[in-house]
Structures are given as C-alpha cells and as structure tokens.
Symmetry: C2
Subunit: 180 residues, 2 copies
DNA sequence: CGGTGTTATTTGTGATCACAGTTCGCCCAT
DNA sequence: ATGGGCGAACTGTGATCACAAATAACACCG
C-alpha cells in the first residue's frame, strides 16, 4: 500500500490520502513501521484477547446505559437488523455480516447517550477489523447469532443482568474461537 | 489557534503542524468545528462523568493484570514517583502534579503487558487533559493522594480486590468533585 | 452612538515539488 | 546456478503555492 497509489485510486492528491492514513494510524487501525511504511497490524492471539477483553468491559456498560432509554421503536429496529443479518448469512456475505453485526451493536449503544464510550468502542472495532474478517471468513454461520436474540429479549423484559450477560457473551463468543 | 501560528511557533512548515493537529483530533483531544477551526472540547459534566466511568472500568483491569507481574523494583519505583508527587504538591506545580500522577498510573499499567488497553486509557487521559488542568488548579492539595499509598500497599500484599478498589477510588475521587 | 453592508485579511484545504532514505531489480563474479 | 553488490525507481516527508471560504475590520447610514 503506497500513499501515491491510495491517492490515485481515490482521485485525490497525496495530501488528503496521507491525512486519512495517519488518522487510521492514530486510531490504531494501521501500524506505521519504522521506515514510514504502513501495514495492517499483526493479529496475535494476545492482541485479540486483549481487544476482546476491552469489548467485554465496555459494551455491557453501554448496553446497561441504553436499557432505560430503549423504547419499542428501537427494539423493533434491532430486530429488523437481525433480519438483515440473517440475509447476509444466507448469502454468505462475510463483510456484509460484519457490517450488519456492528450496526446492531451501534444502534443499541447510540441510545446510551455516551458518545466518548461509543467512540472508544468503535476504535476497538476498527482494530479488530482484520481479525473479524479472518474469523468470519473461515467460520460458516448458519443463522443469526443466538445472543442477538437474547439481547432483544432482555431489552423487552428490562432484564439488566441478562442483558449484560448476553452482550458479553456475544462479544466474546466469536473471538474466543479464533484464539484457540 | 491557527495552523500557521502553530507551525511558526514550532519552526516547521504547515504540513507537519496540520498532521499533528489532525492526529489530536482523531484521538479526541481536540474538537474540529464545522469550518475546520480547531478548539478544545467543552468539558460538560456529562462528558467528565462518562470519561471517568471509562477510567473506572479499564484501569482496575489493567492493575489486576499488572499485579502478578509486579516485582519489588516496580513497587519501589512507584513509591519514588509518589515522592515526586509530594514535591510537586509542595511547589504547587499543577501541571507537574498531573504529569507525575499519570506517570504513576502508566508505570503500573505498563506491567500489565496490555498495550491496546494502555493506549486506550491514554486516549482517555488525553481527553481529560483540560479537565484535569481545571480541576487541580482550583484544588489545593496538601499531600500525596491517599489512594496511591493504598495501591502500593495492595501491590505489596498481593491483594487484588483491594488493588481494584484503590485504583477505582483514585480514578473517580478527583473527578467526582468537579461534576458537582 | 449603534447596526449593517462591503471590503480586506486571514485561514484551512488540496496540489505540486524537491529531497533523502529505502526498496527492488539486475548484472556480474565465483 | 547462486550470492553479492550496484544503480535506478519509488516512497514518505516537509515546504511552498493557489484558491475558496470564513472571519475581521471598517466605513456609512439610521
């Protein structure tokens, strides 16, 4: 990945391409080697475990904060996203699956009214991007993740402990099998 | 704060100044207004509470991970940093105090071998920078924070619950009185 | 003296260029 | 055929410039 190549492929000059790359580097989505070259970060199992731990720490908190504000329209929207996920599963659309999956989480967390926490979480998602790509490509899903249904159910019931557990499981479940 | 002014004051061209600013923006340390102007983020009490919550979530985890690897030399070093903090308190050196305080935490967390978690925490510190500045300027400290001593004691005793509690208290204590 | 329209300055953005360091390909000696 | 060394091409960095937008200054009218 050369800076000039990125610039050319987006039909812009070198300057905005450089800024975009540097921004990704600042957010941890890309690694900057000593010679200035940029590369996708190595996905060691320690790193994955660490990032998963962060998700397991923050996301239940976000869900908890969203719970009292979750009205019916939001829950319906989450269920609709689960439908989209089912479609991507049927079409074996890996990247679509990842996108819809994160959209599910983001839609819920937006309700938490905690922009800094959400931004931090999205940073972690960004860093997990290549890992997720590798994980869901090798994994052959057959249906919507069970935990997503548990999350919706817990939201309906106003069950905070159940919600925290479901979110935590959903976050850890997929990544756990990549570290073995 | 103009981009050209920053560039001039650091005796560099506009390009590196722009990159540095954009990097700070990407990390949340600065806000980018619609017209491209850059400003320090407003420190509302909701935002402070949120950032403090993040610290209260992650930092005890970092401390826990550092605990089994904390050898005697590290504990001595922490105590020495506490000495430095005492000096800054005596000299009413606010920014020195903040620096030494964060150095205390970073020194401990470095032992956790969790670079992503530490990076995330430092991002939060960066965002809290102006707040801390405002807080410790108005607050007249008289001695080293009690919780720092508790942290060192818990490390010596290998007391994990005590360590978590002390870290959590240390993180929340100062920021709590700013939100009232 | 205060509000308003216009002008002049300044600002951020994107483009282009020069330069130093690195990488890659290629040729030759063994 | 293979390893080492040399040169060419390329890459990232920083500097400078043109331009459009936005801000600031200011004169003019009520």
């Amino acid at each position: 990945m050369t800076l000039r190549g990125i610039a050319r492929s987006f039909d812009v000059s070198m300057t905005p391409a450089r800024e975009a790359v540097r921004r990704l580097v600042a957010d941890g989505g890309l690694n900057l080697s000593s010679s200035g070259r940029v590369a996708t970060p190595e996905l060691s199992s320690e790193r994955i475990e660490e990032l998963a731990s962060i998700r397991a720490l923050i996301e239940p908190e976000l869900a908890t904060r969203a719970l009292p504000r979750a009205h019916m329209a939001l829950i319906d929207r989450l269920q609709s996203i689960n439908g989209t996920i089912a479609e991507t599963v049927a079409k074996h659309d890996d990247v679509g699956y990842i996108r819809a999956n994160l959209d599910f989480h983001r839609t819920l967390y937006l309700r938490a009214q905690a922009p800094a926490m959400l931004a931090l979480t999205e940073t972690v998602w960004l860093q997990l991007g290549p890992t997720m790509r590798a994980l869901y490509a090798r994994l052959n899903r057959t249906e919507v993740p069970h935990n997503h249904r548990l999350i919706v159910a817990a939201l309906r019931a106003g069950d905070e402990p159940g919600l925290r557990l479901a979110v935590r499981s959903d976050v850890t479940q997929g990544l756990k099998m990549l570290t073995v």
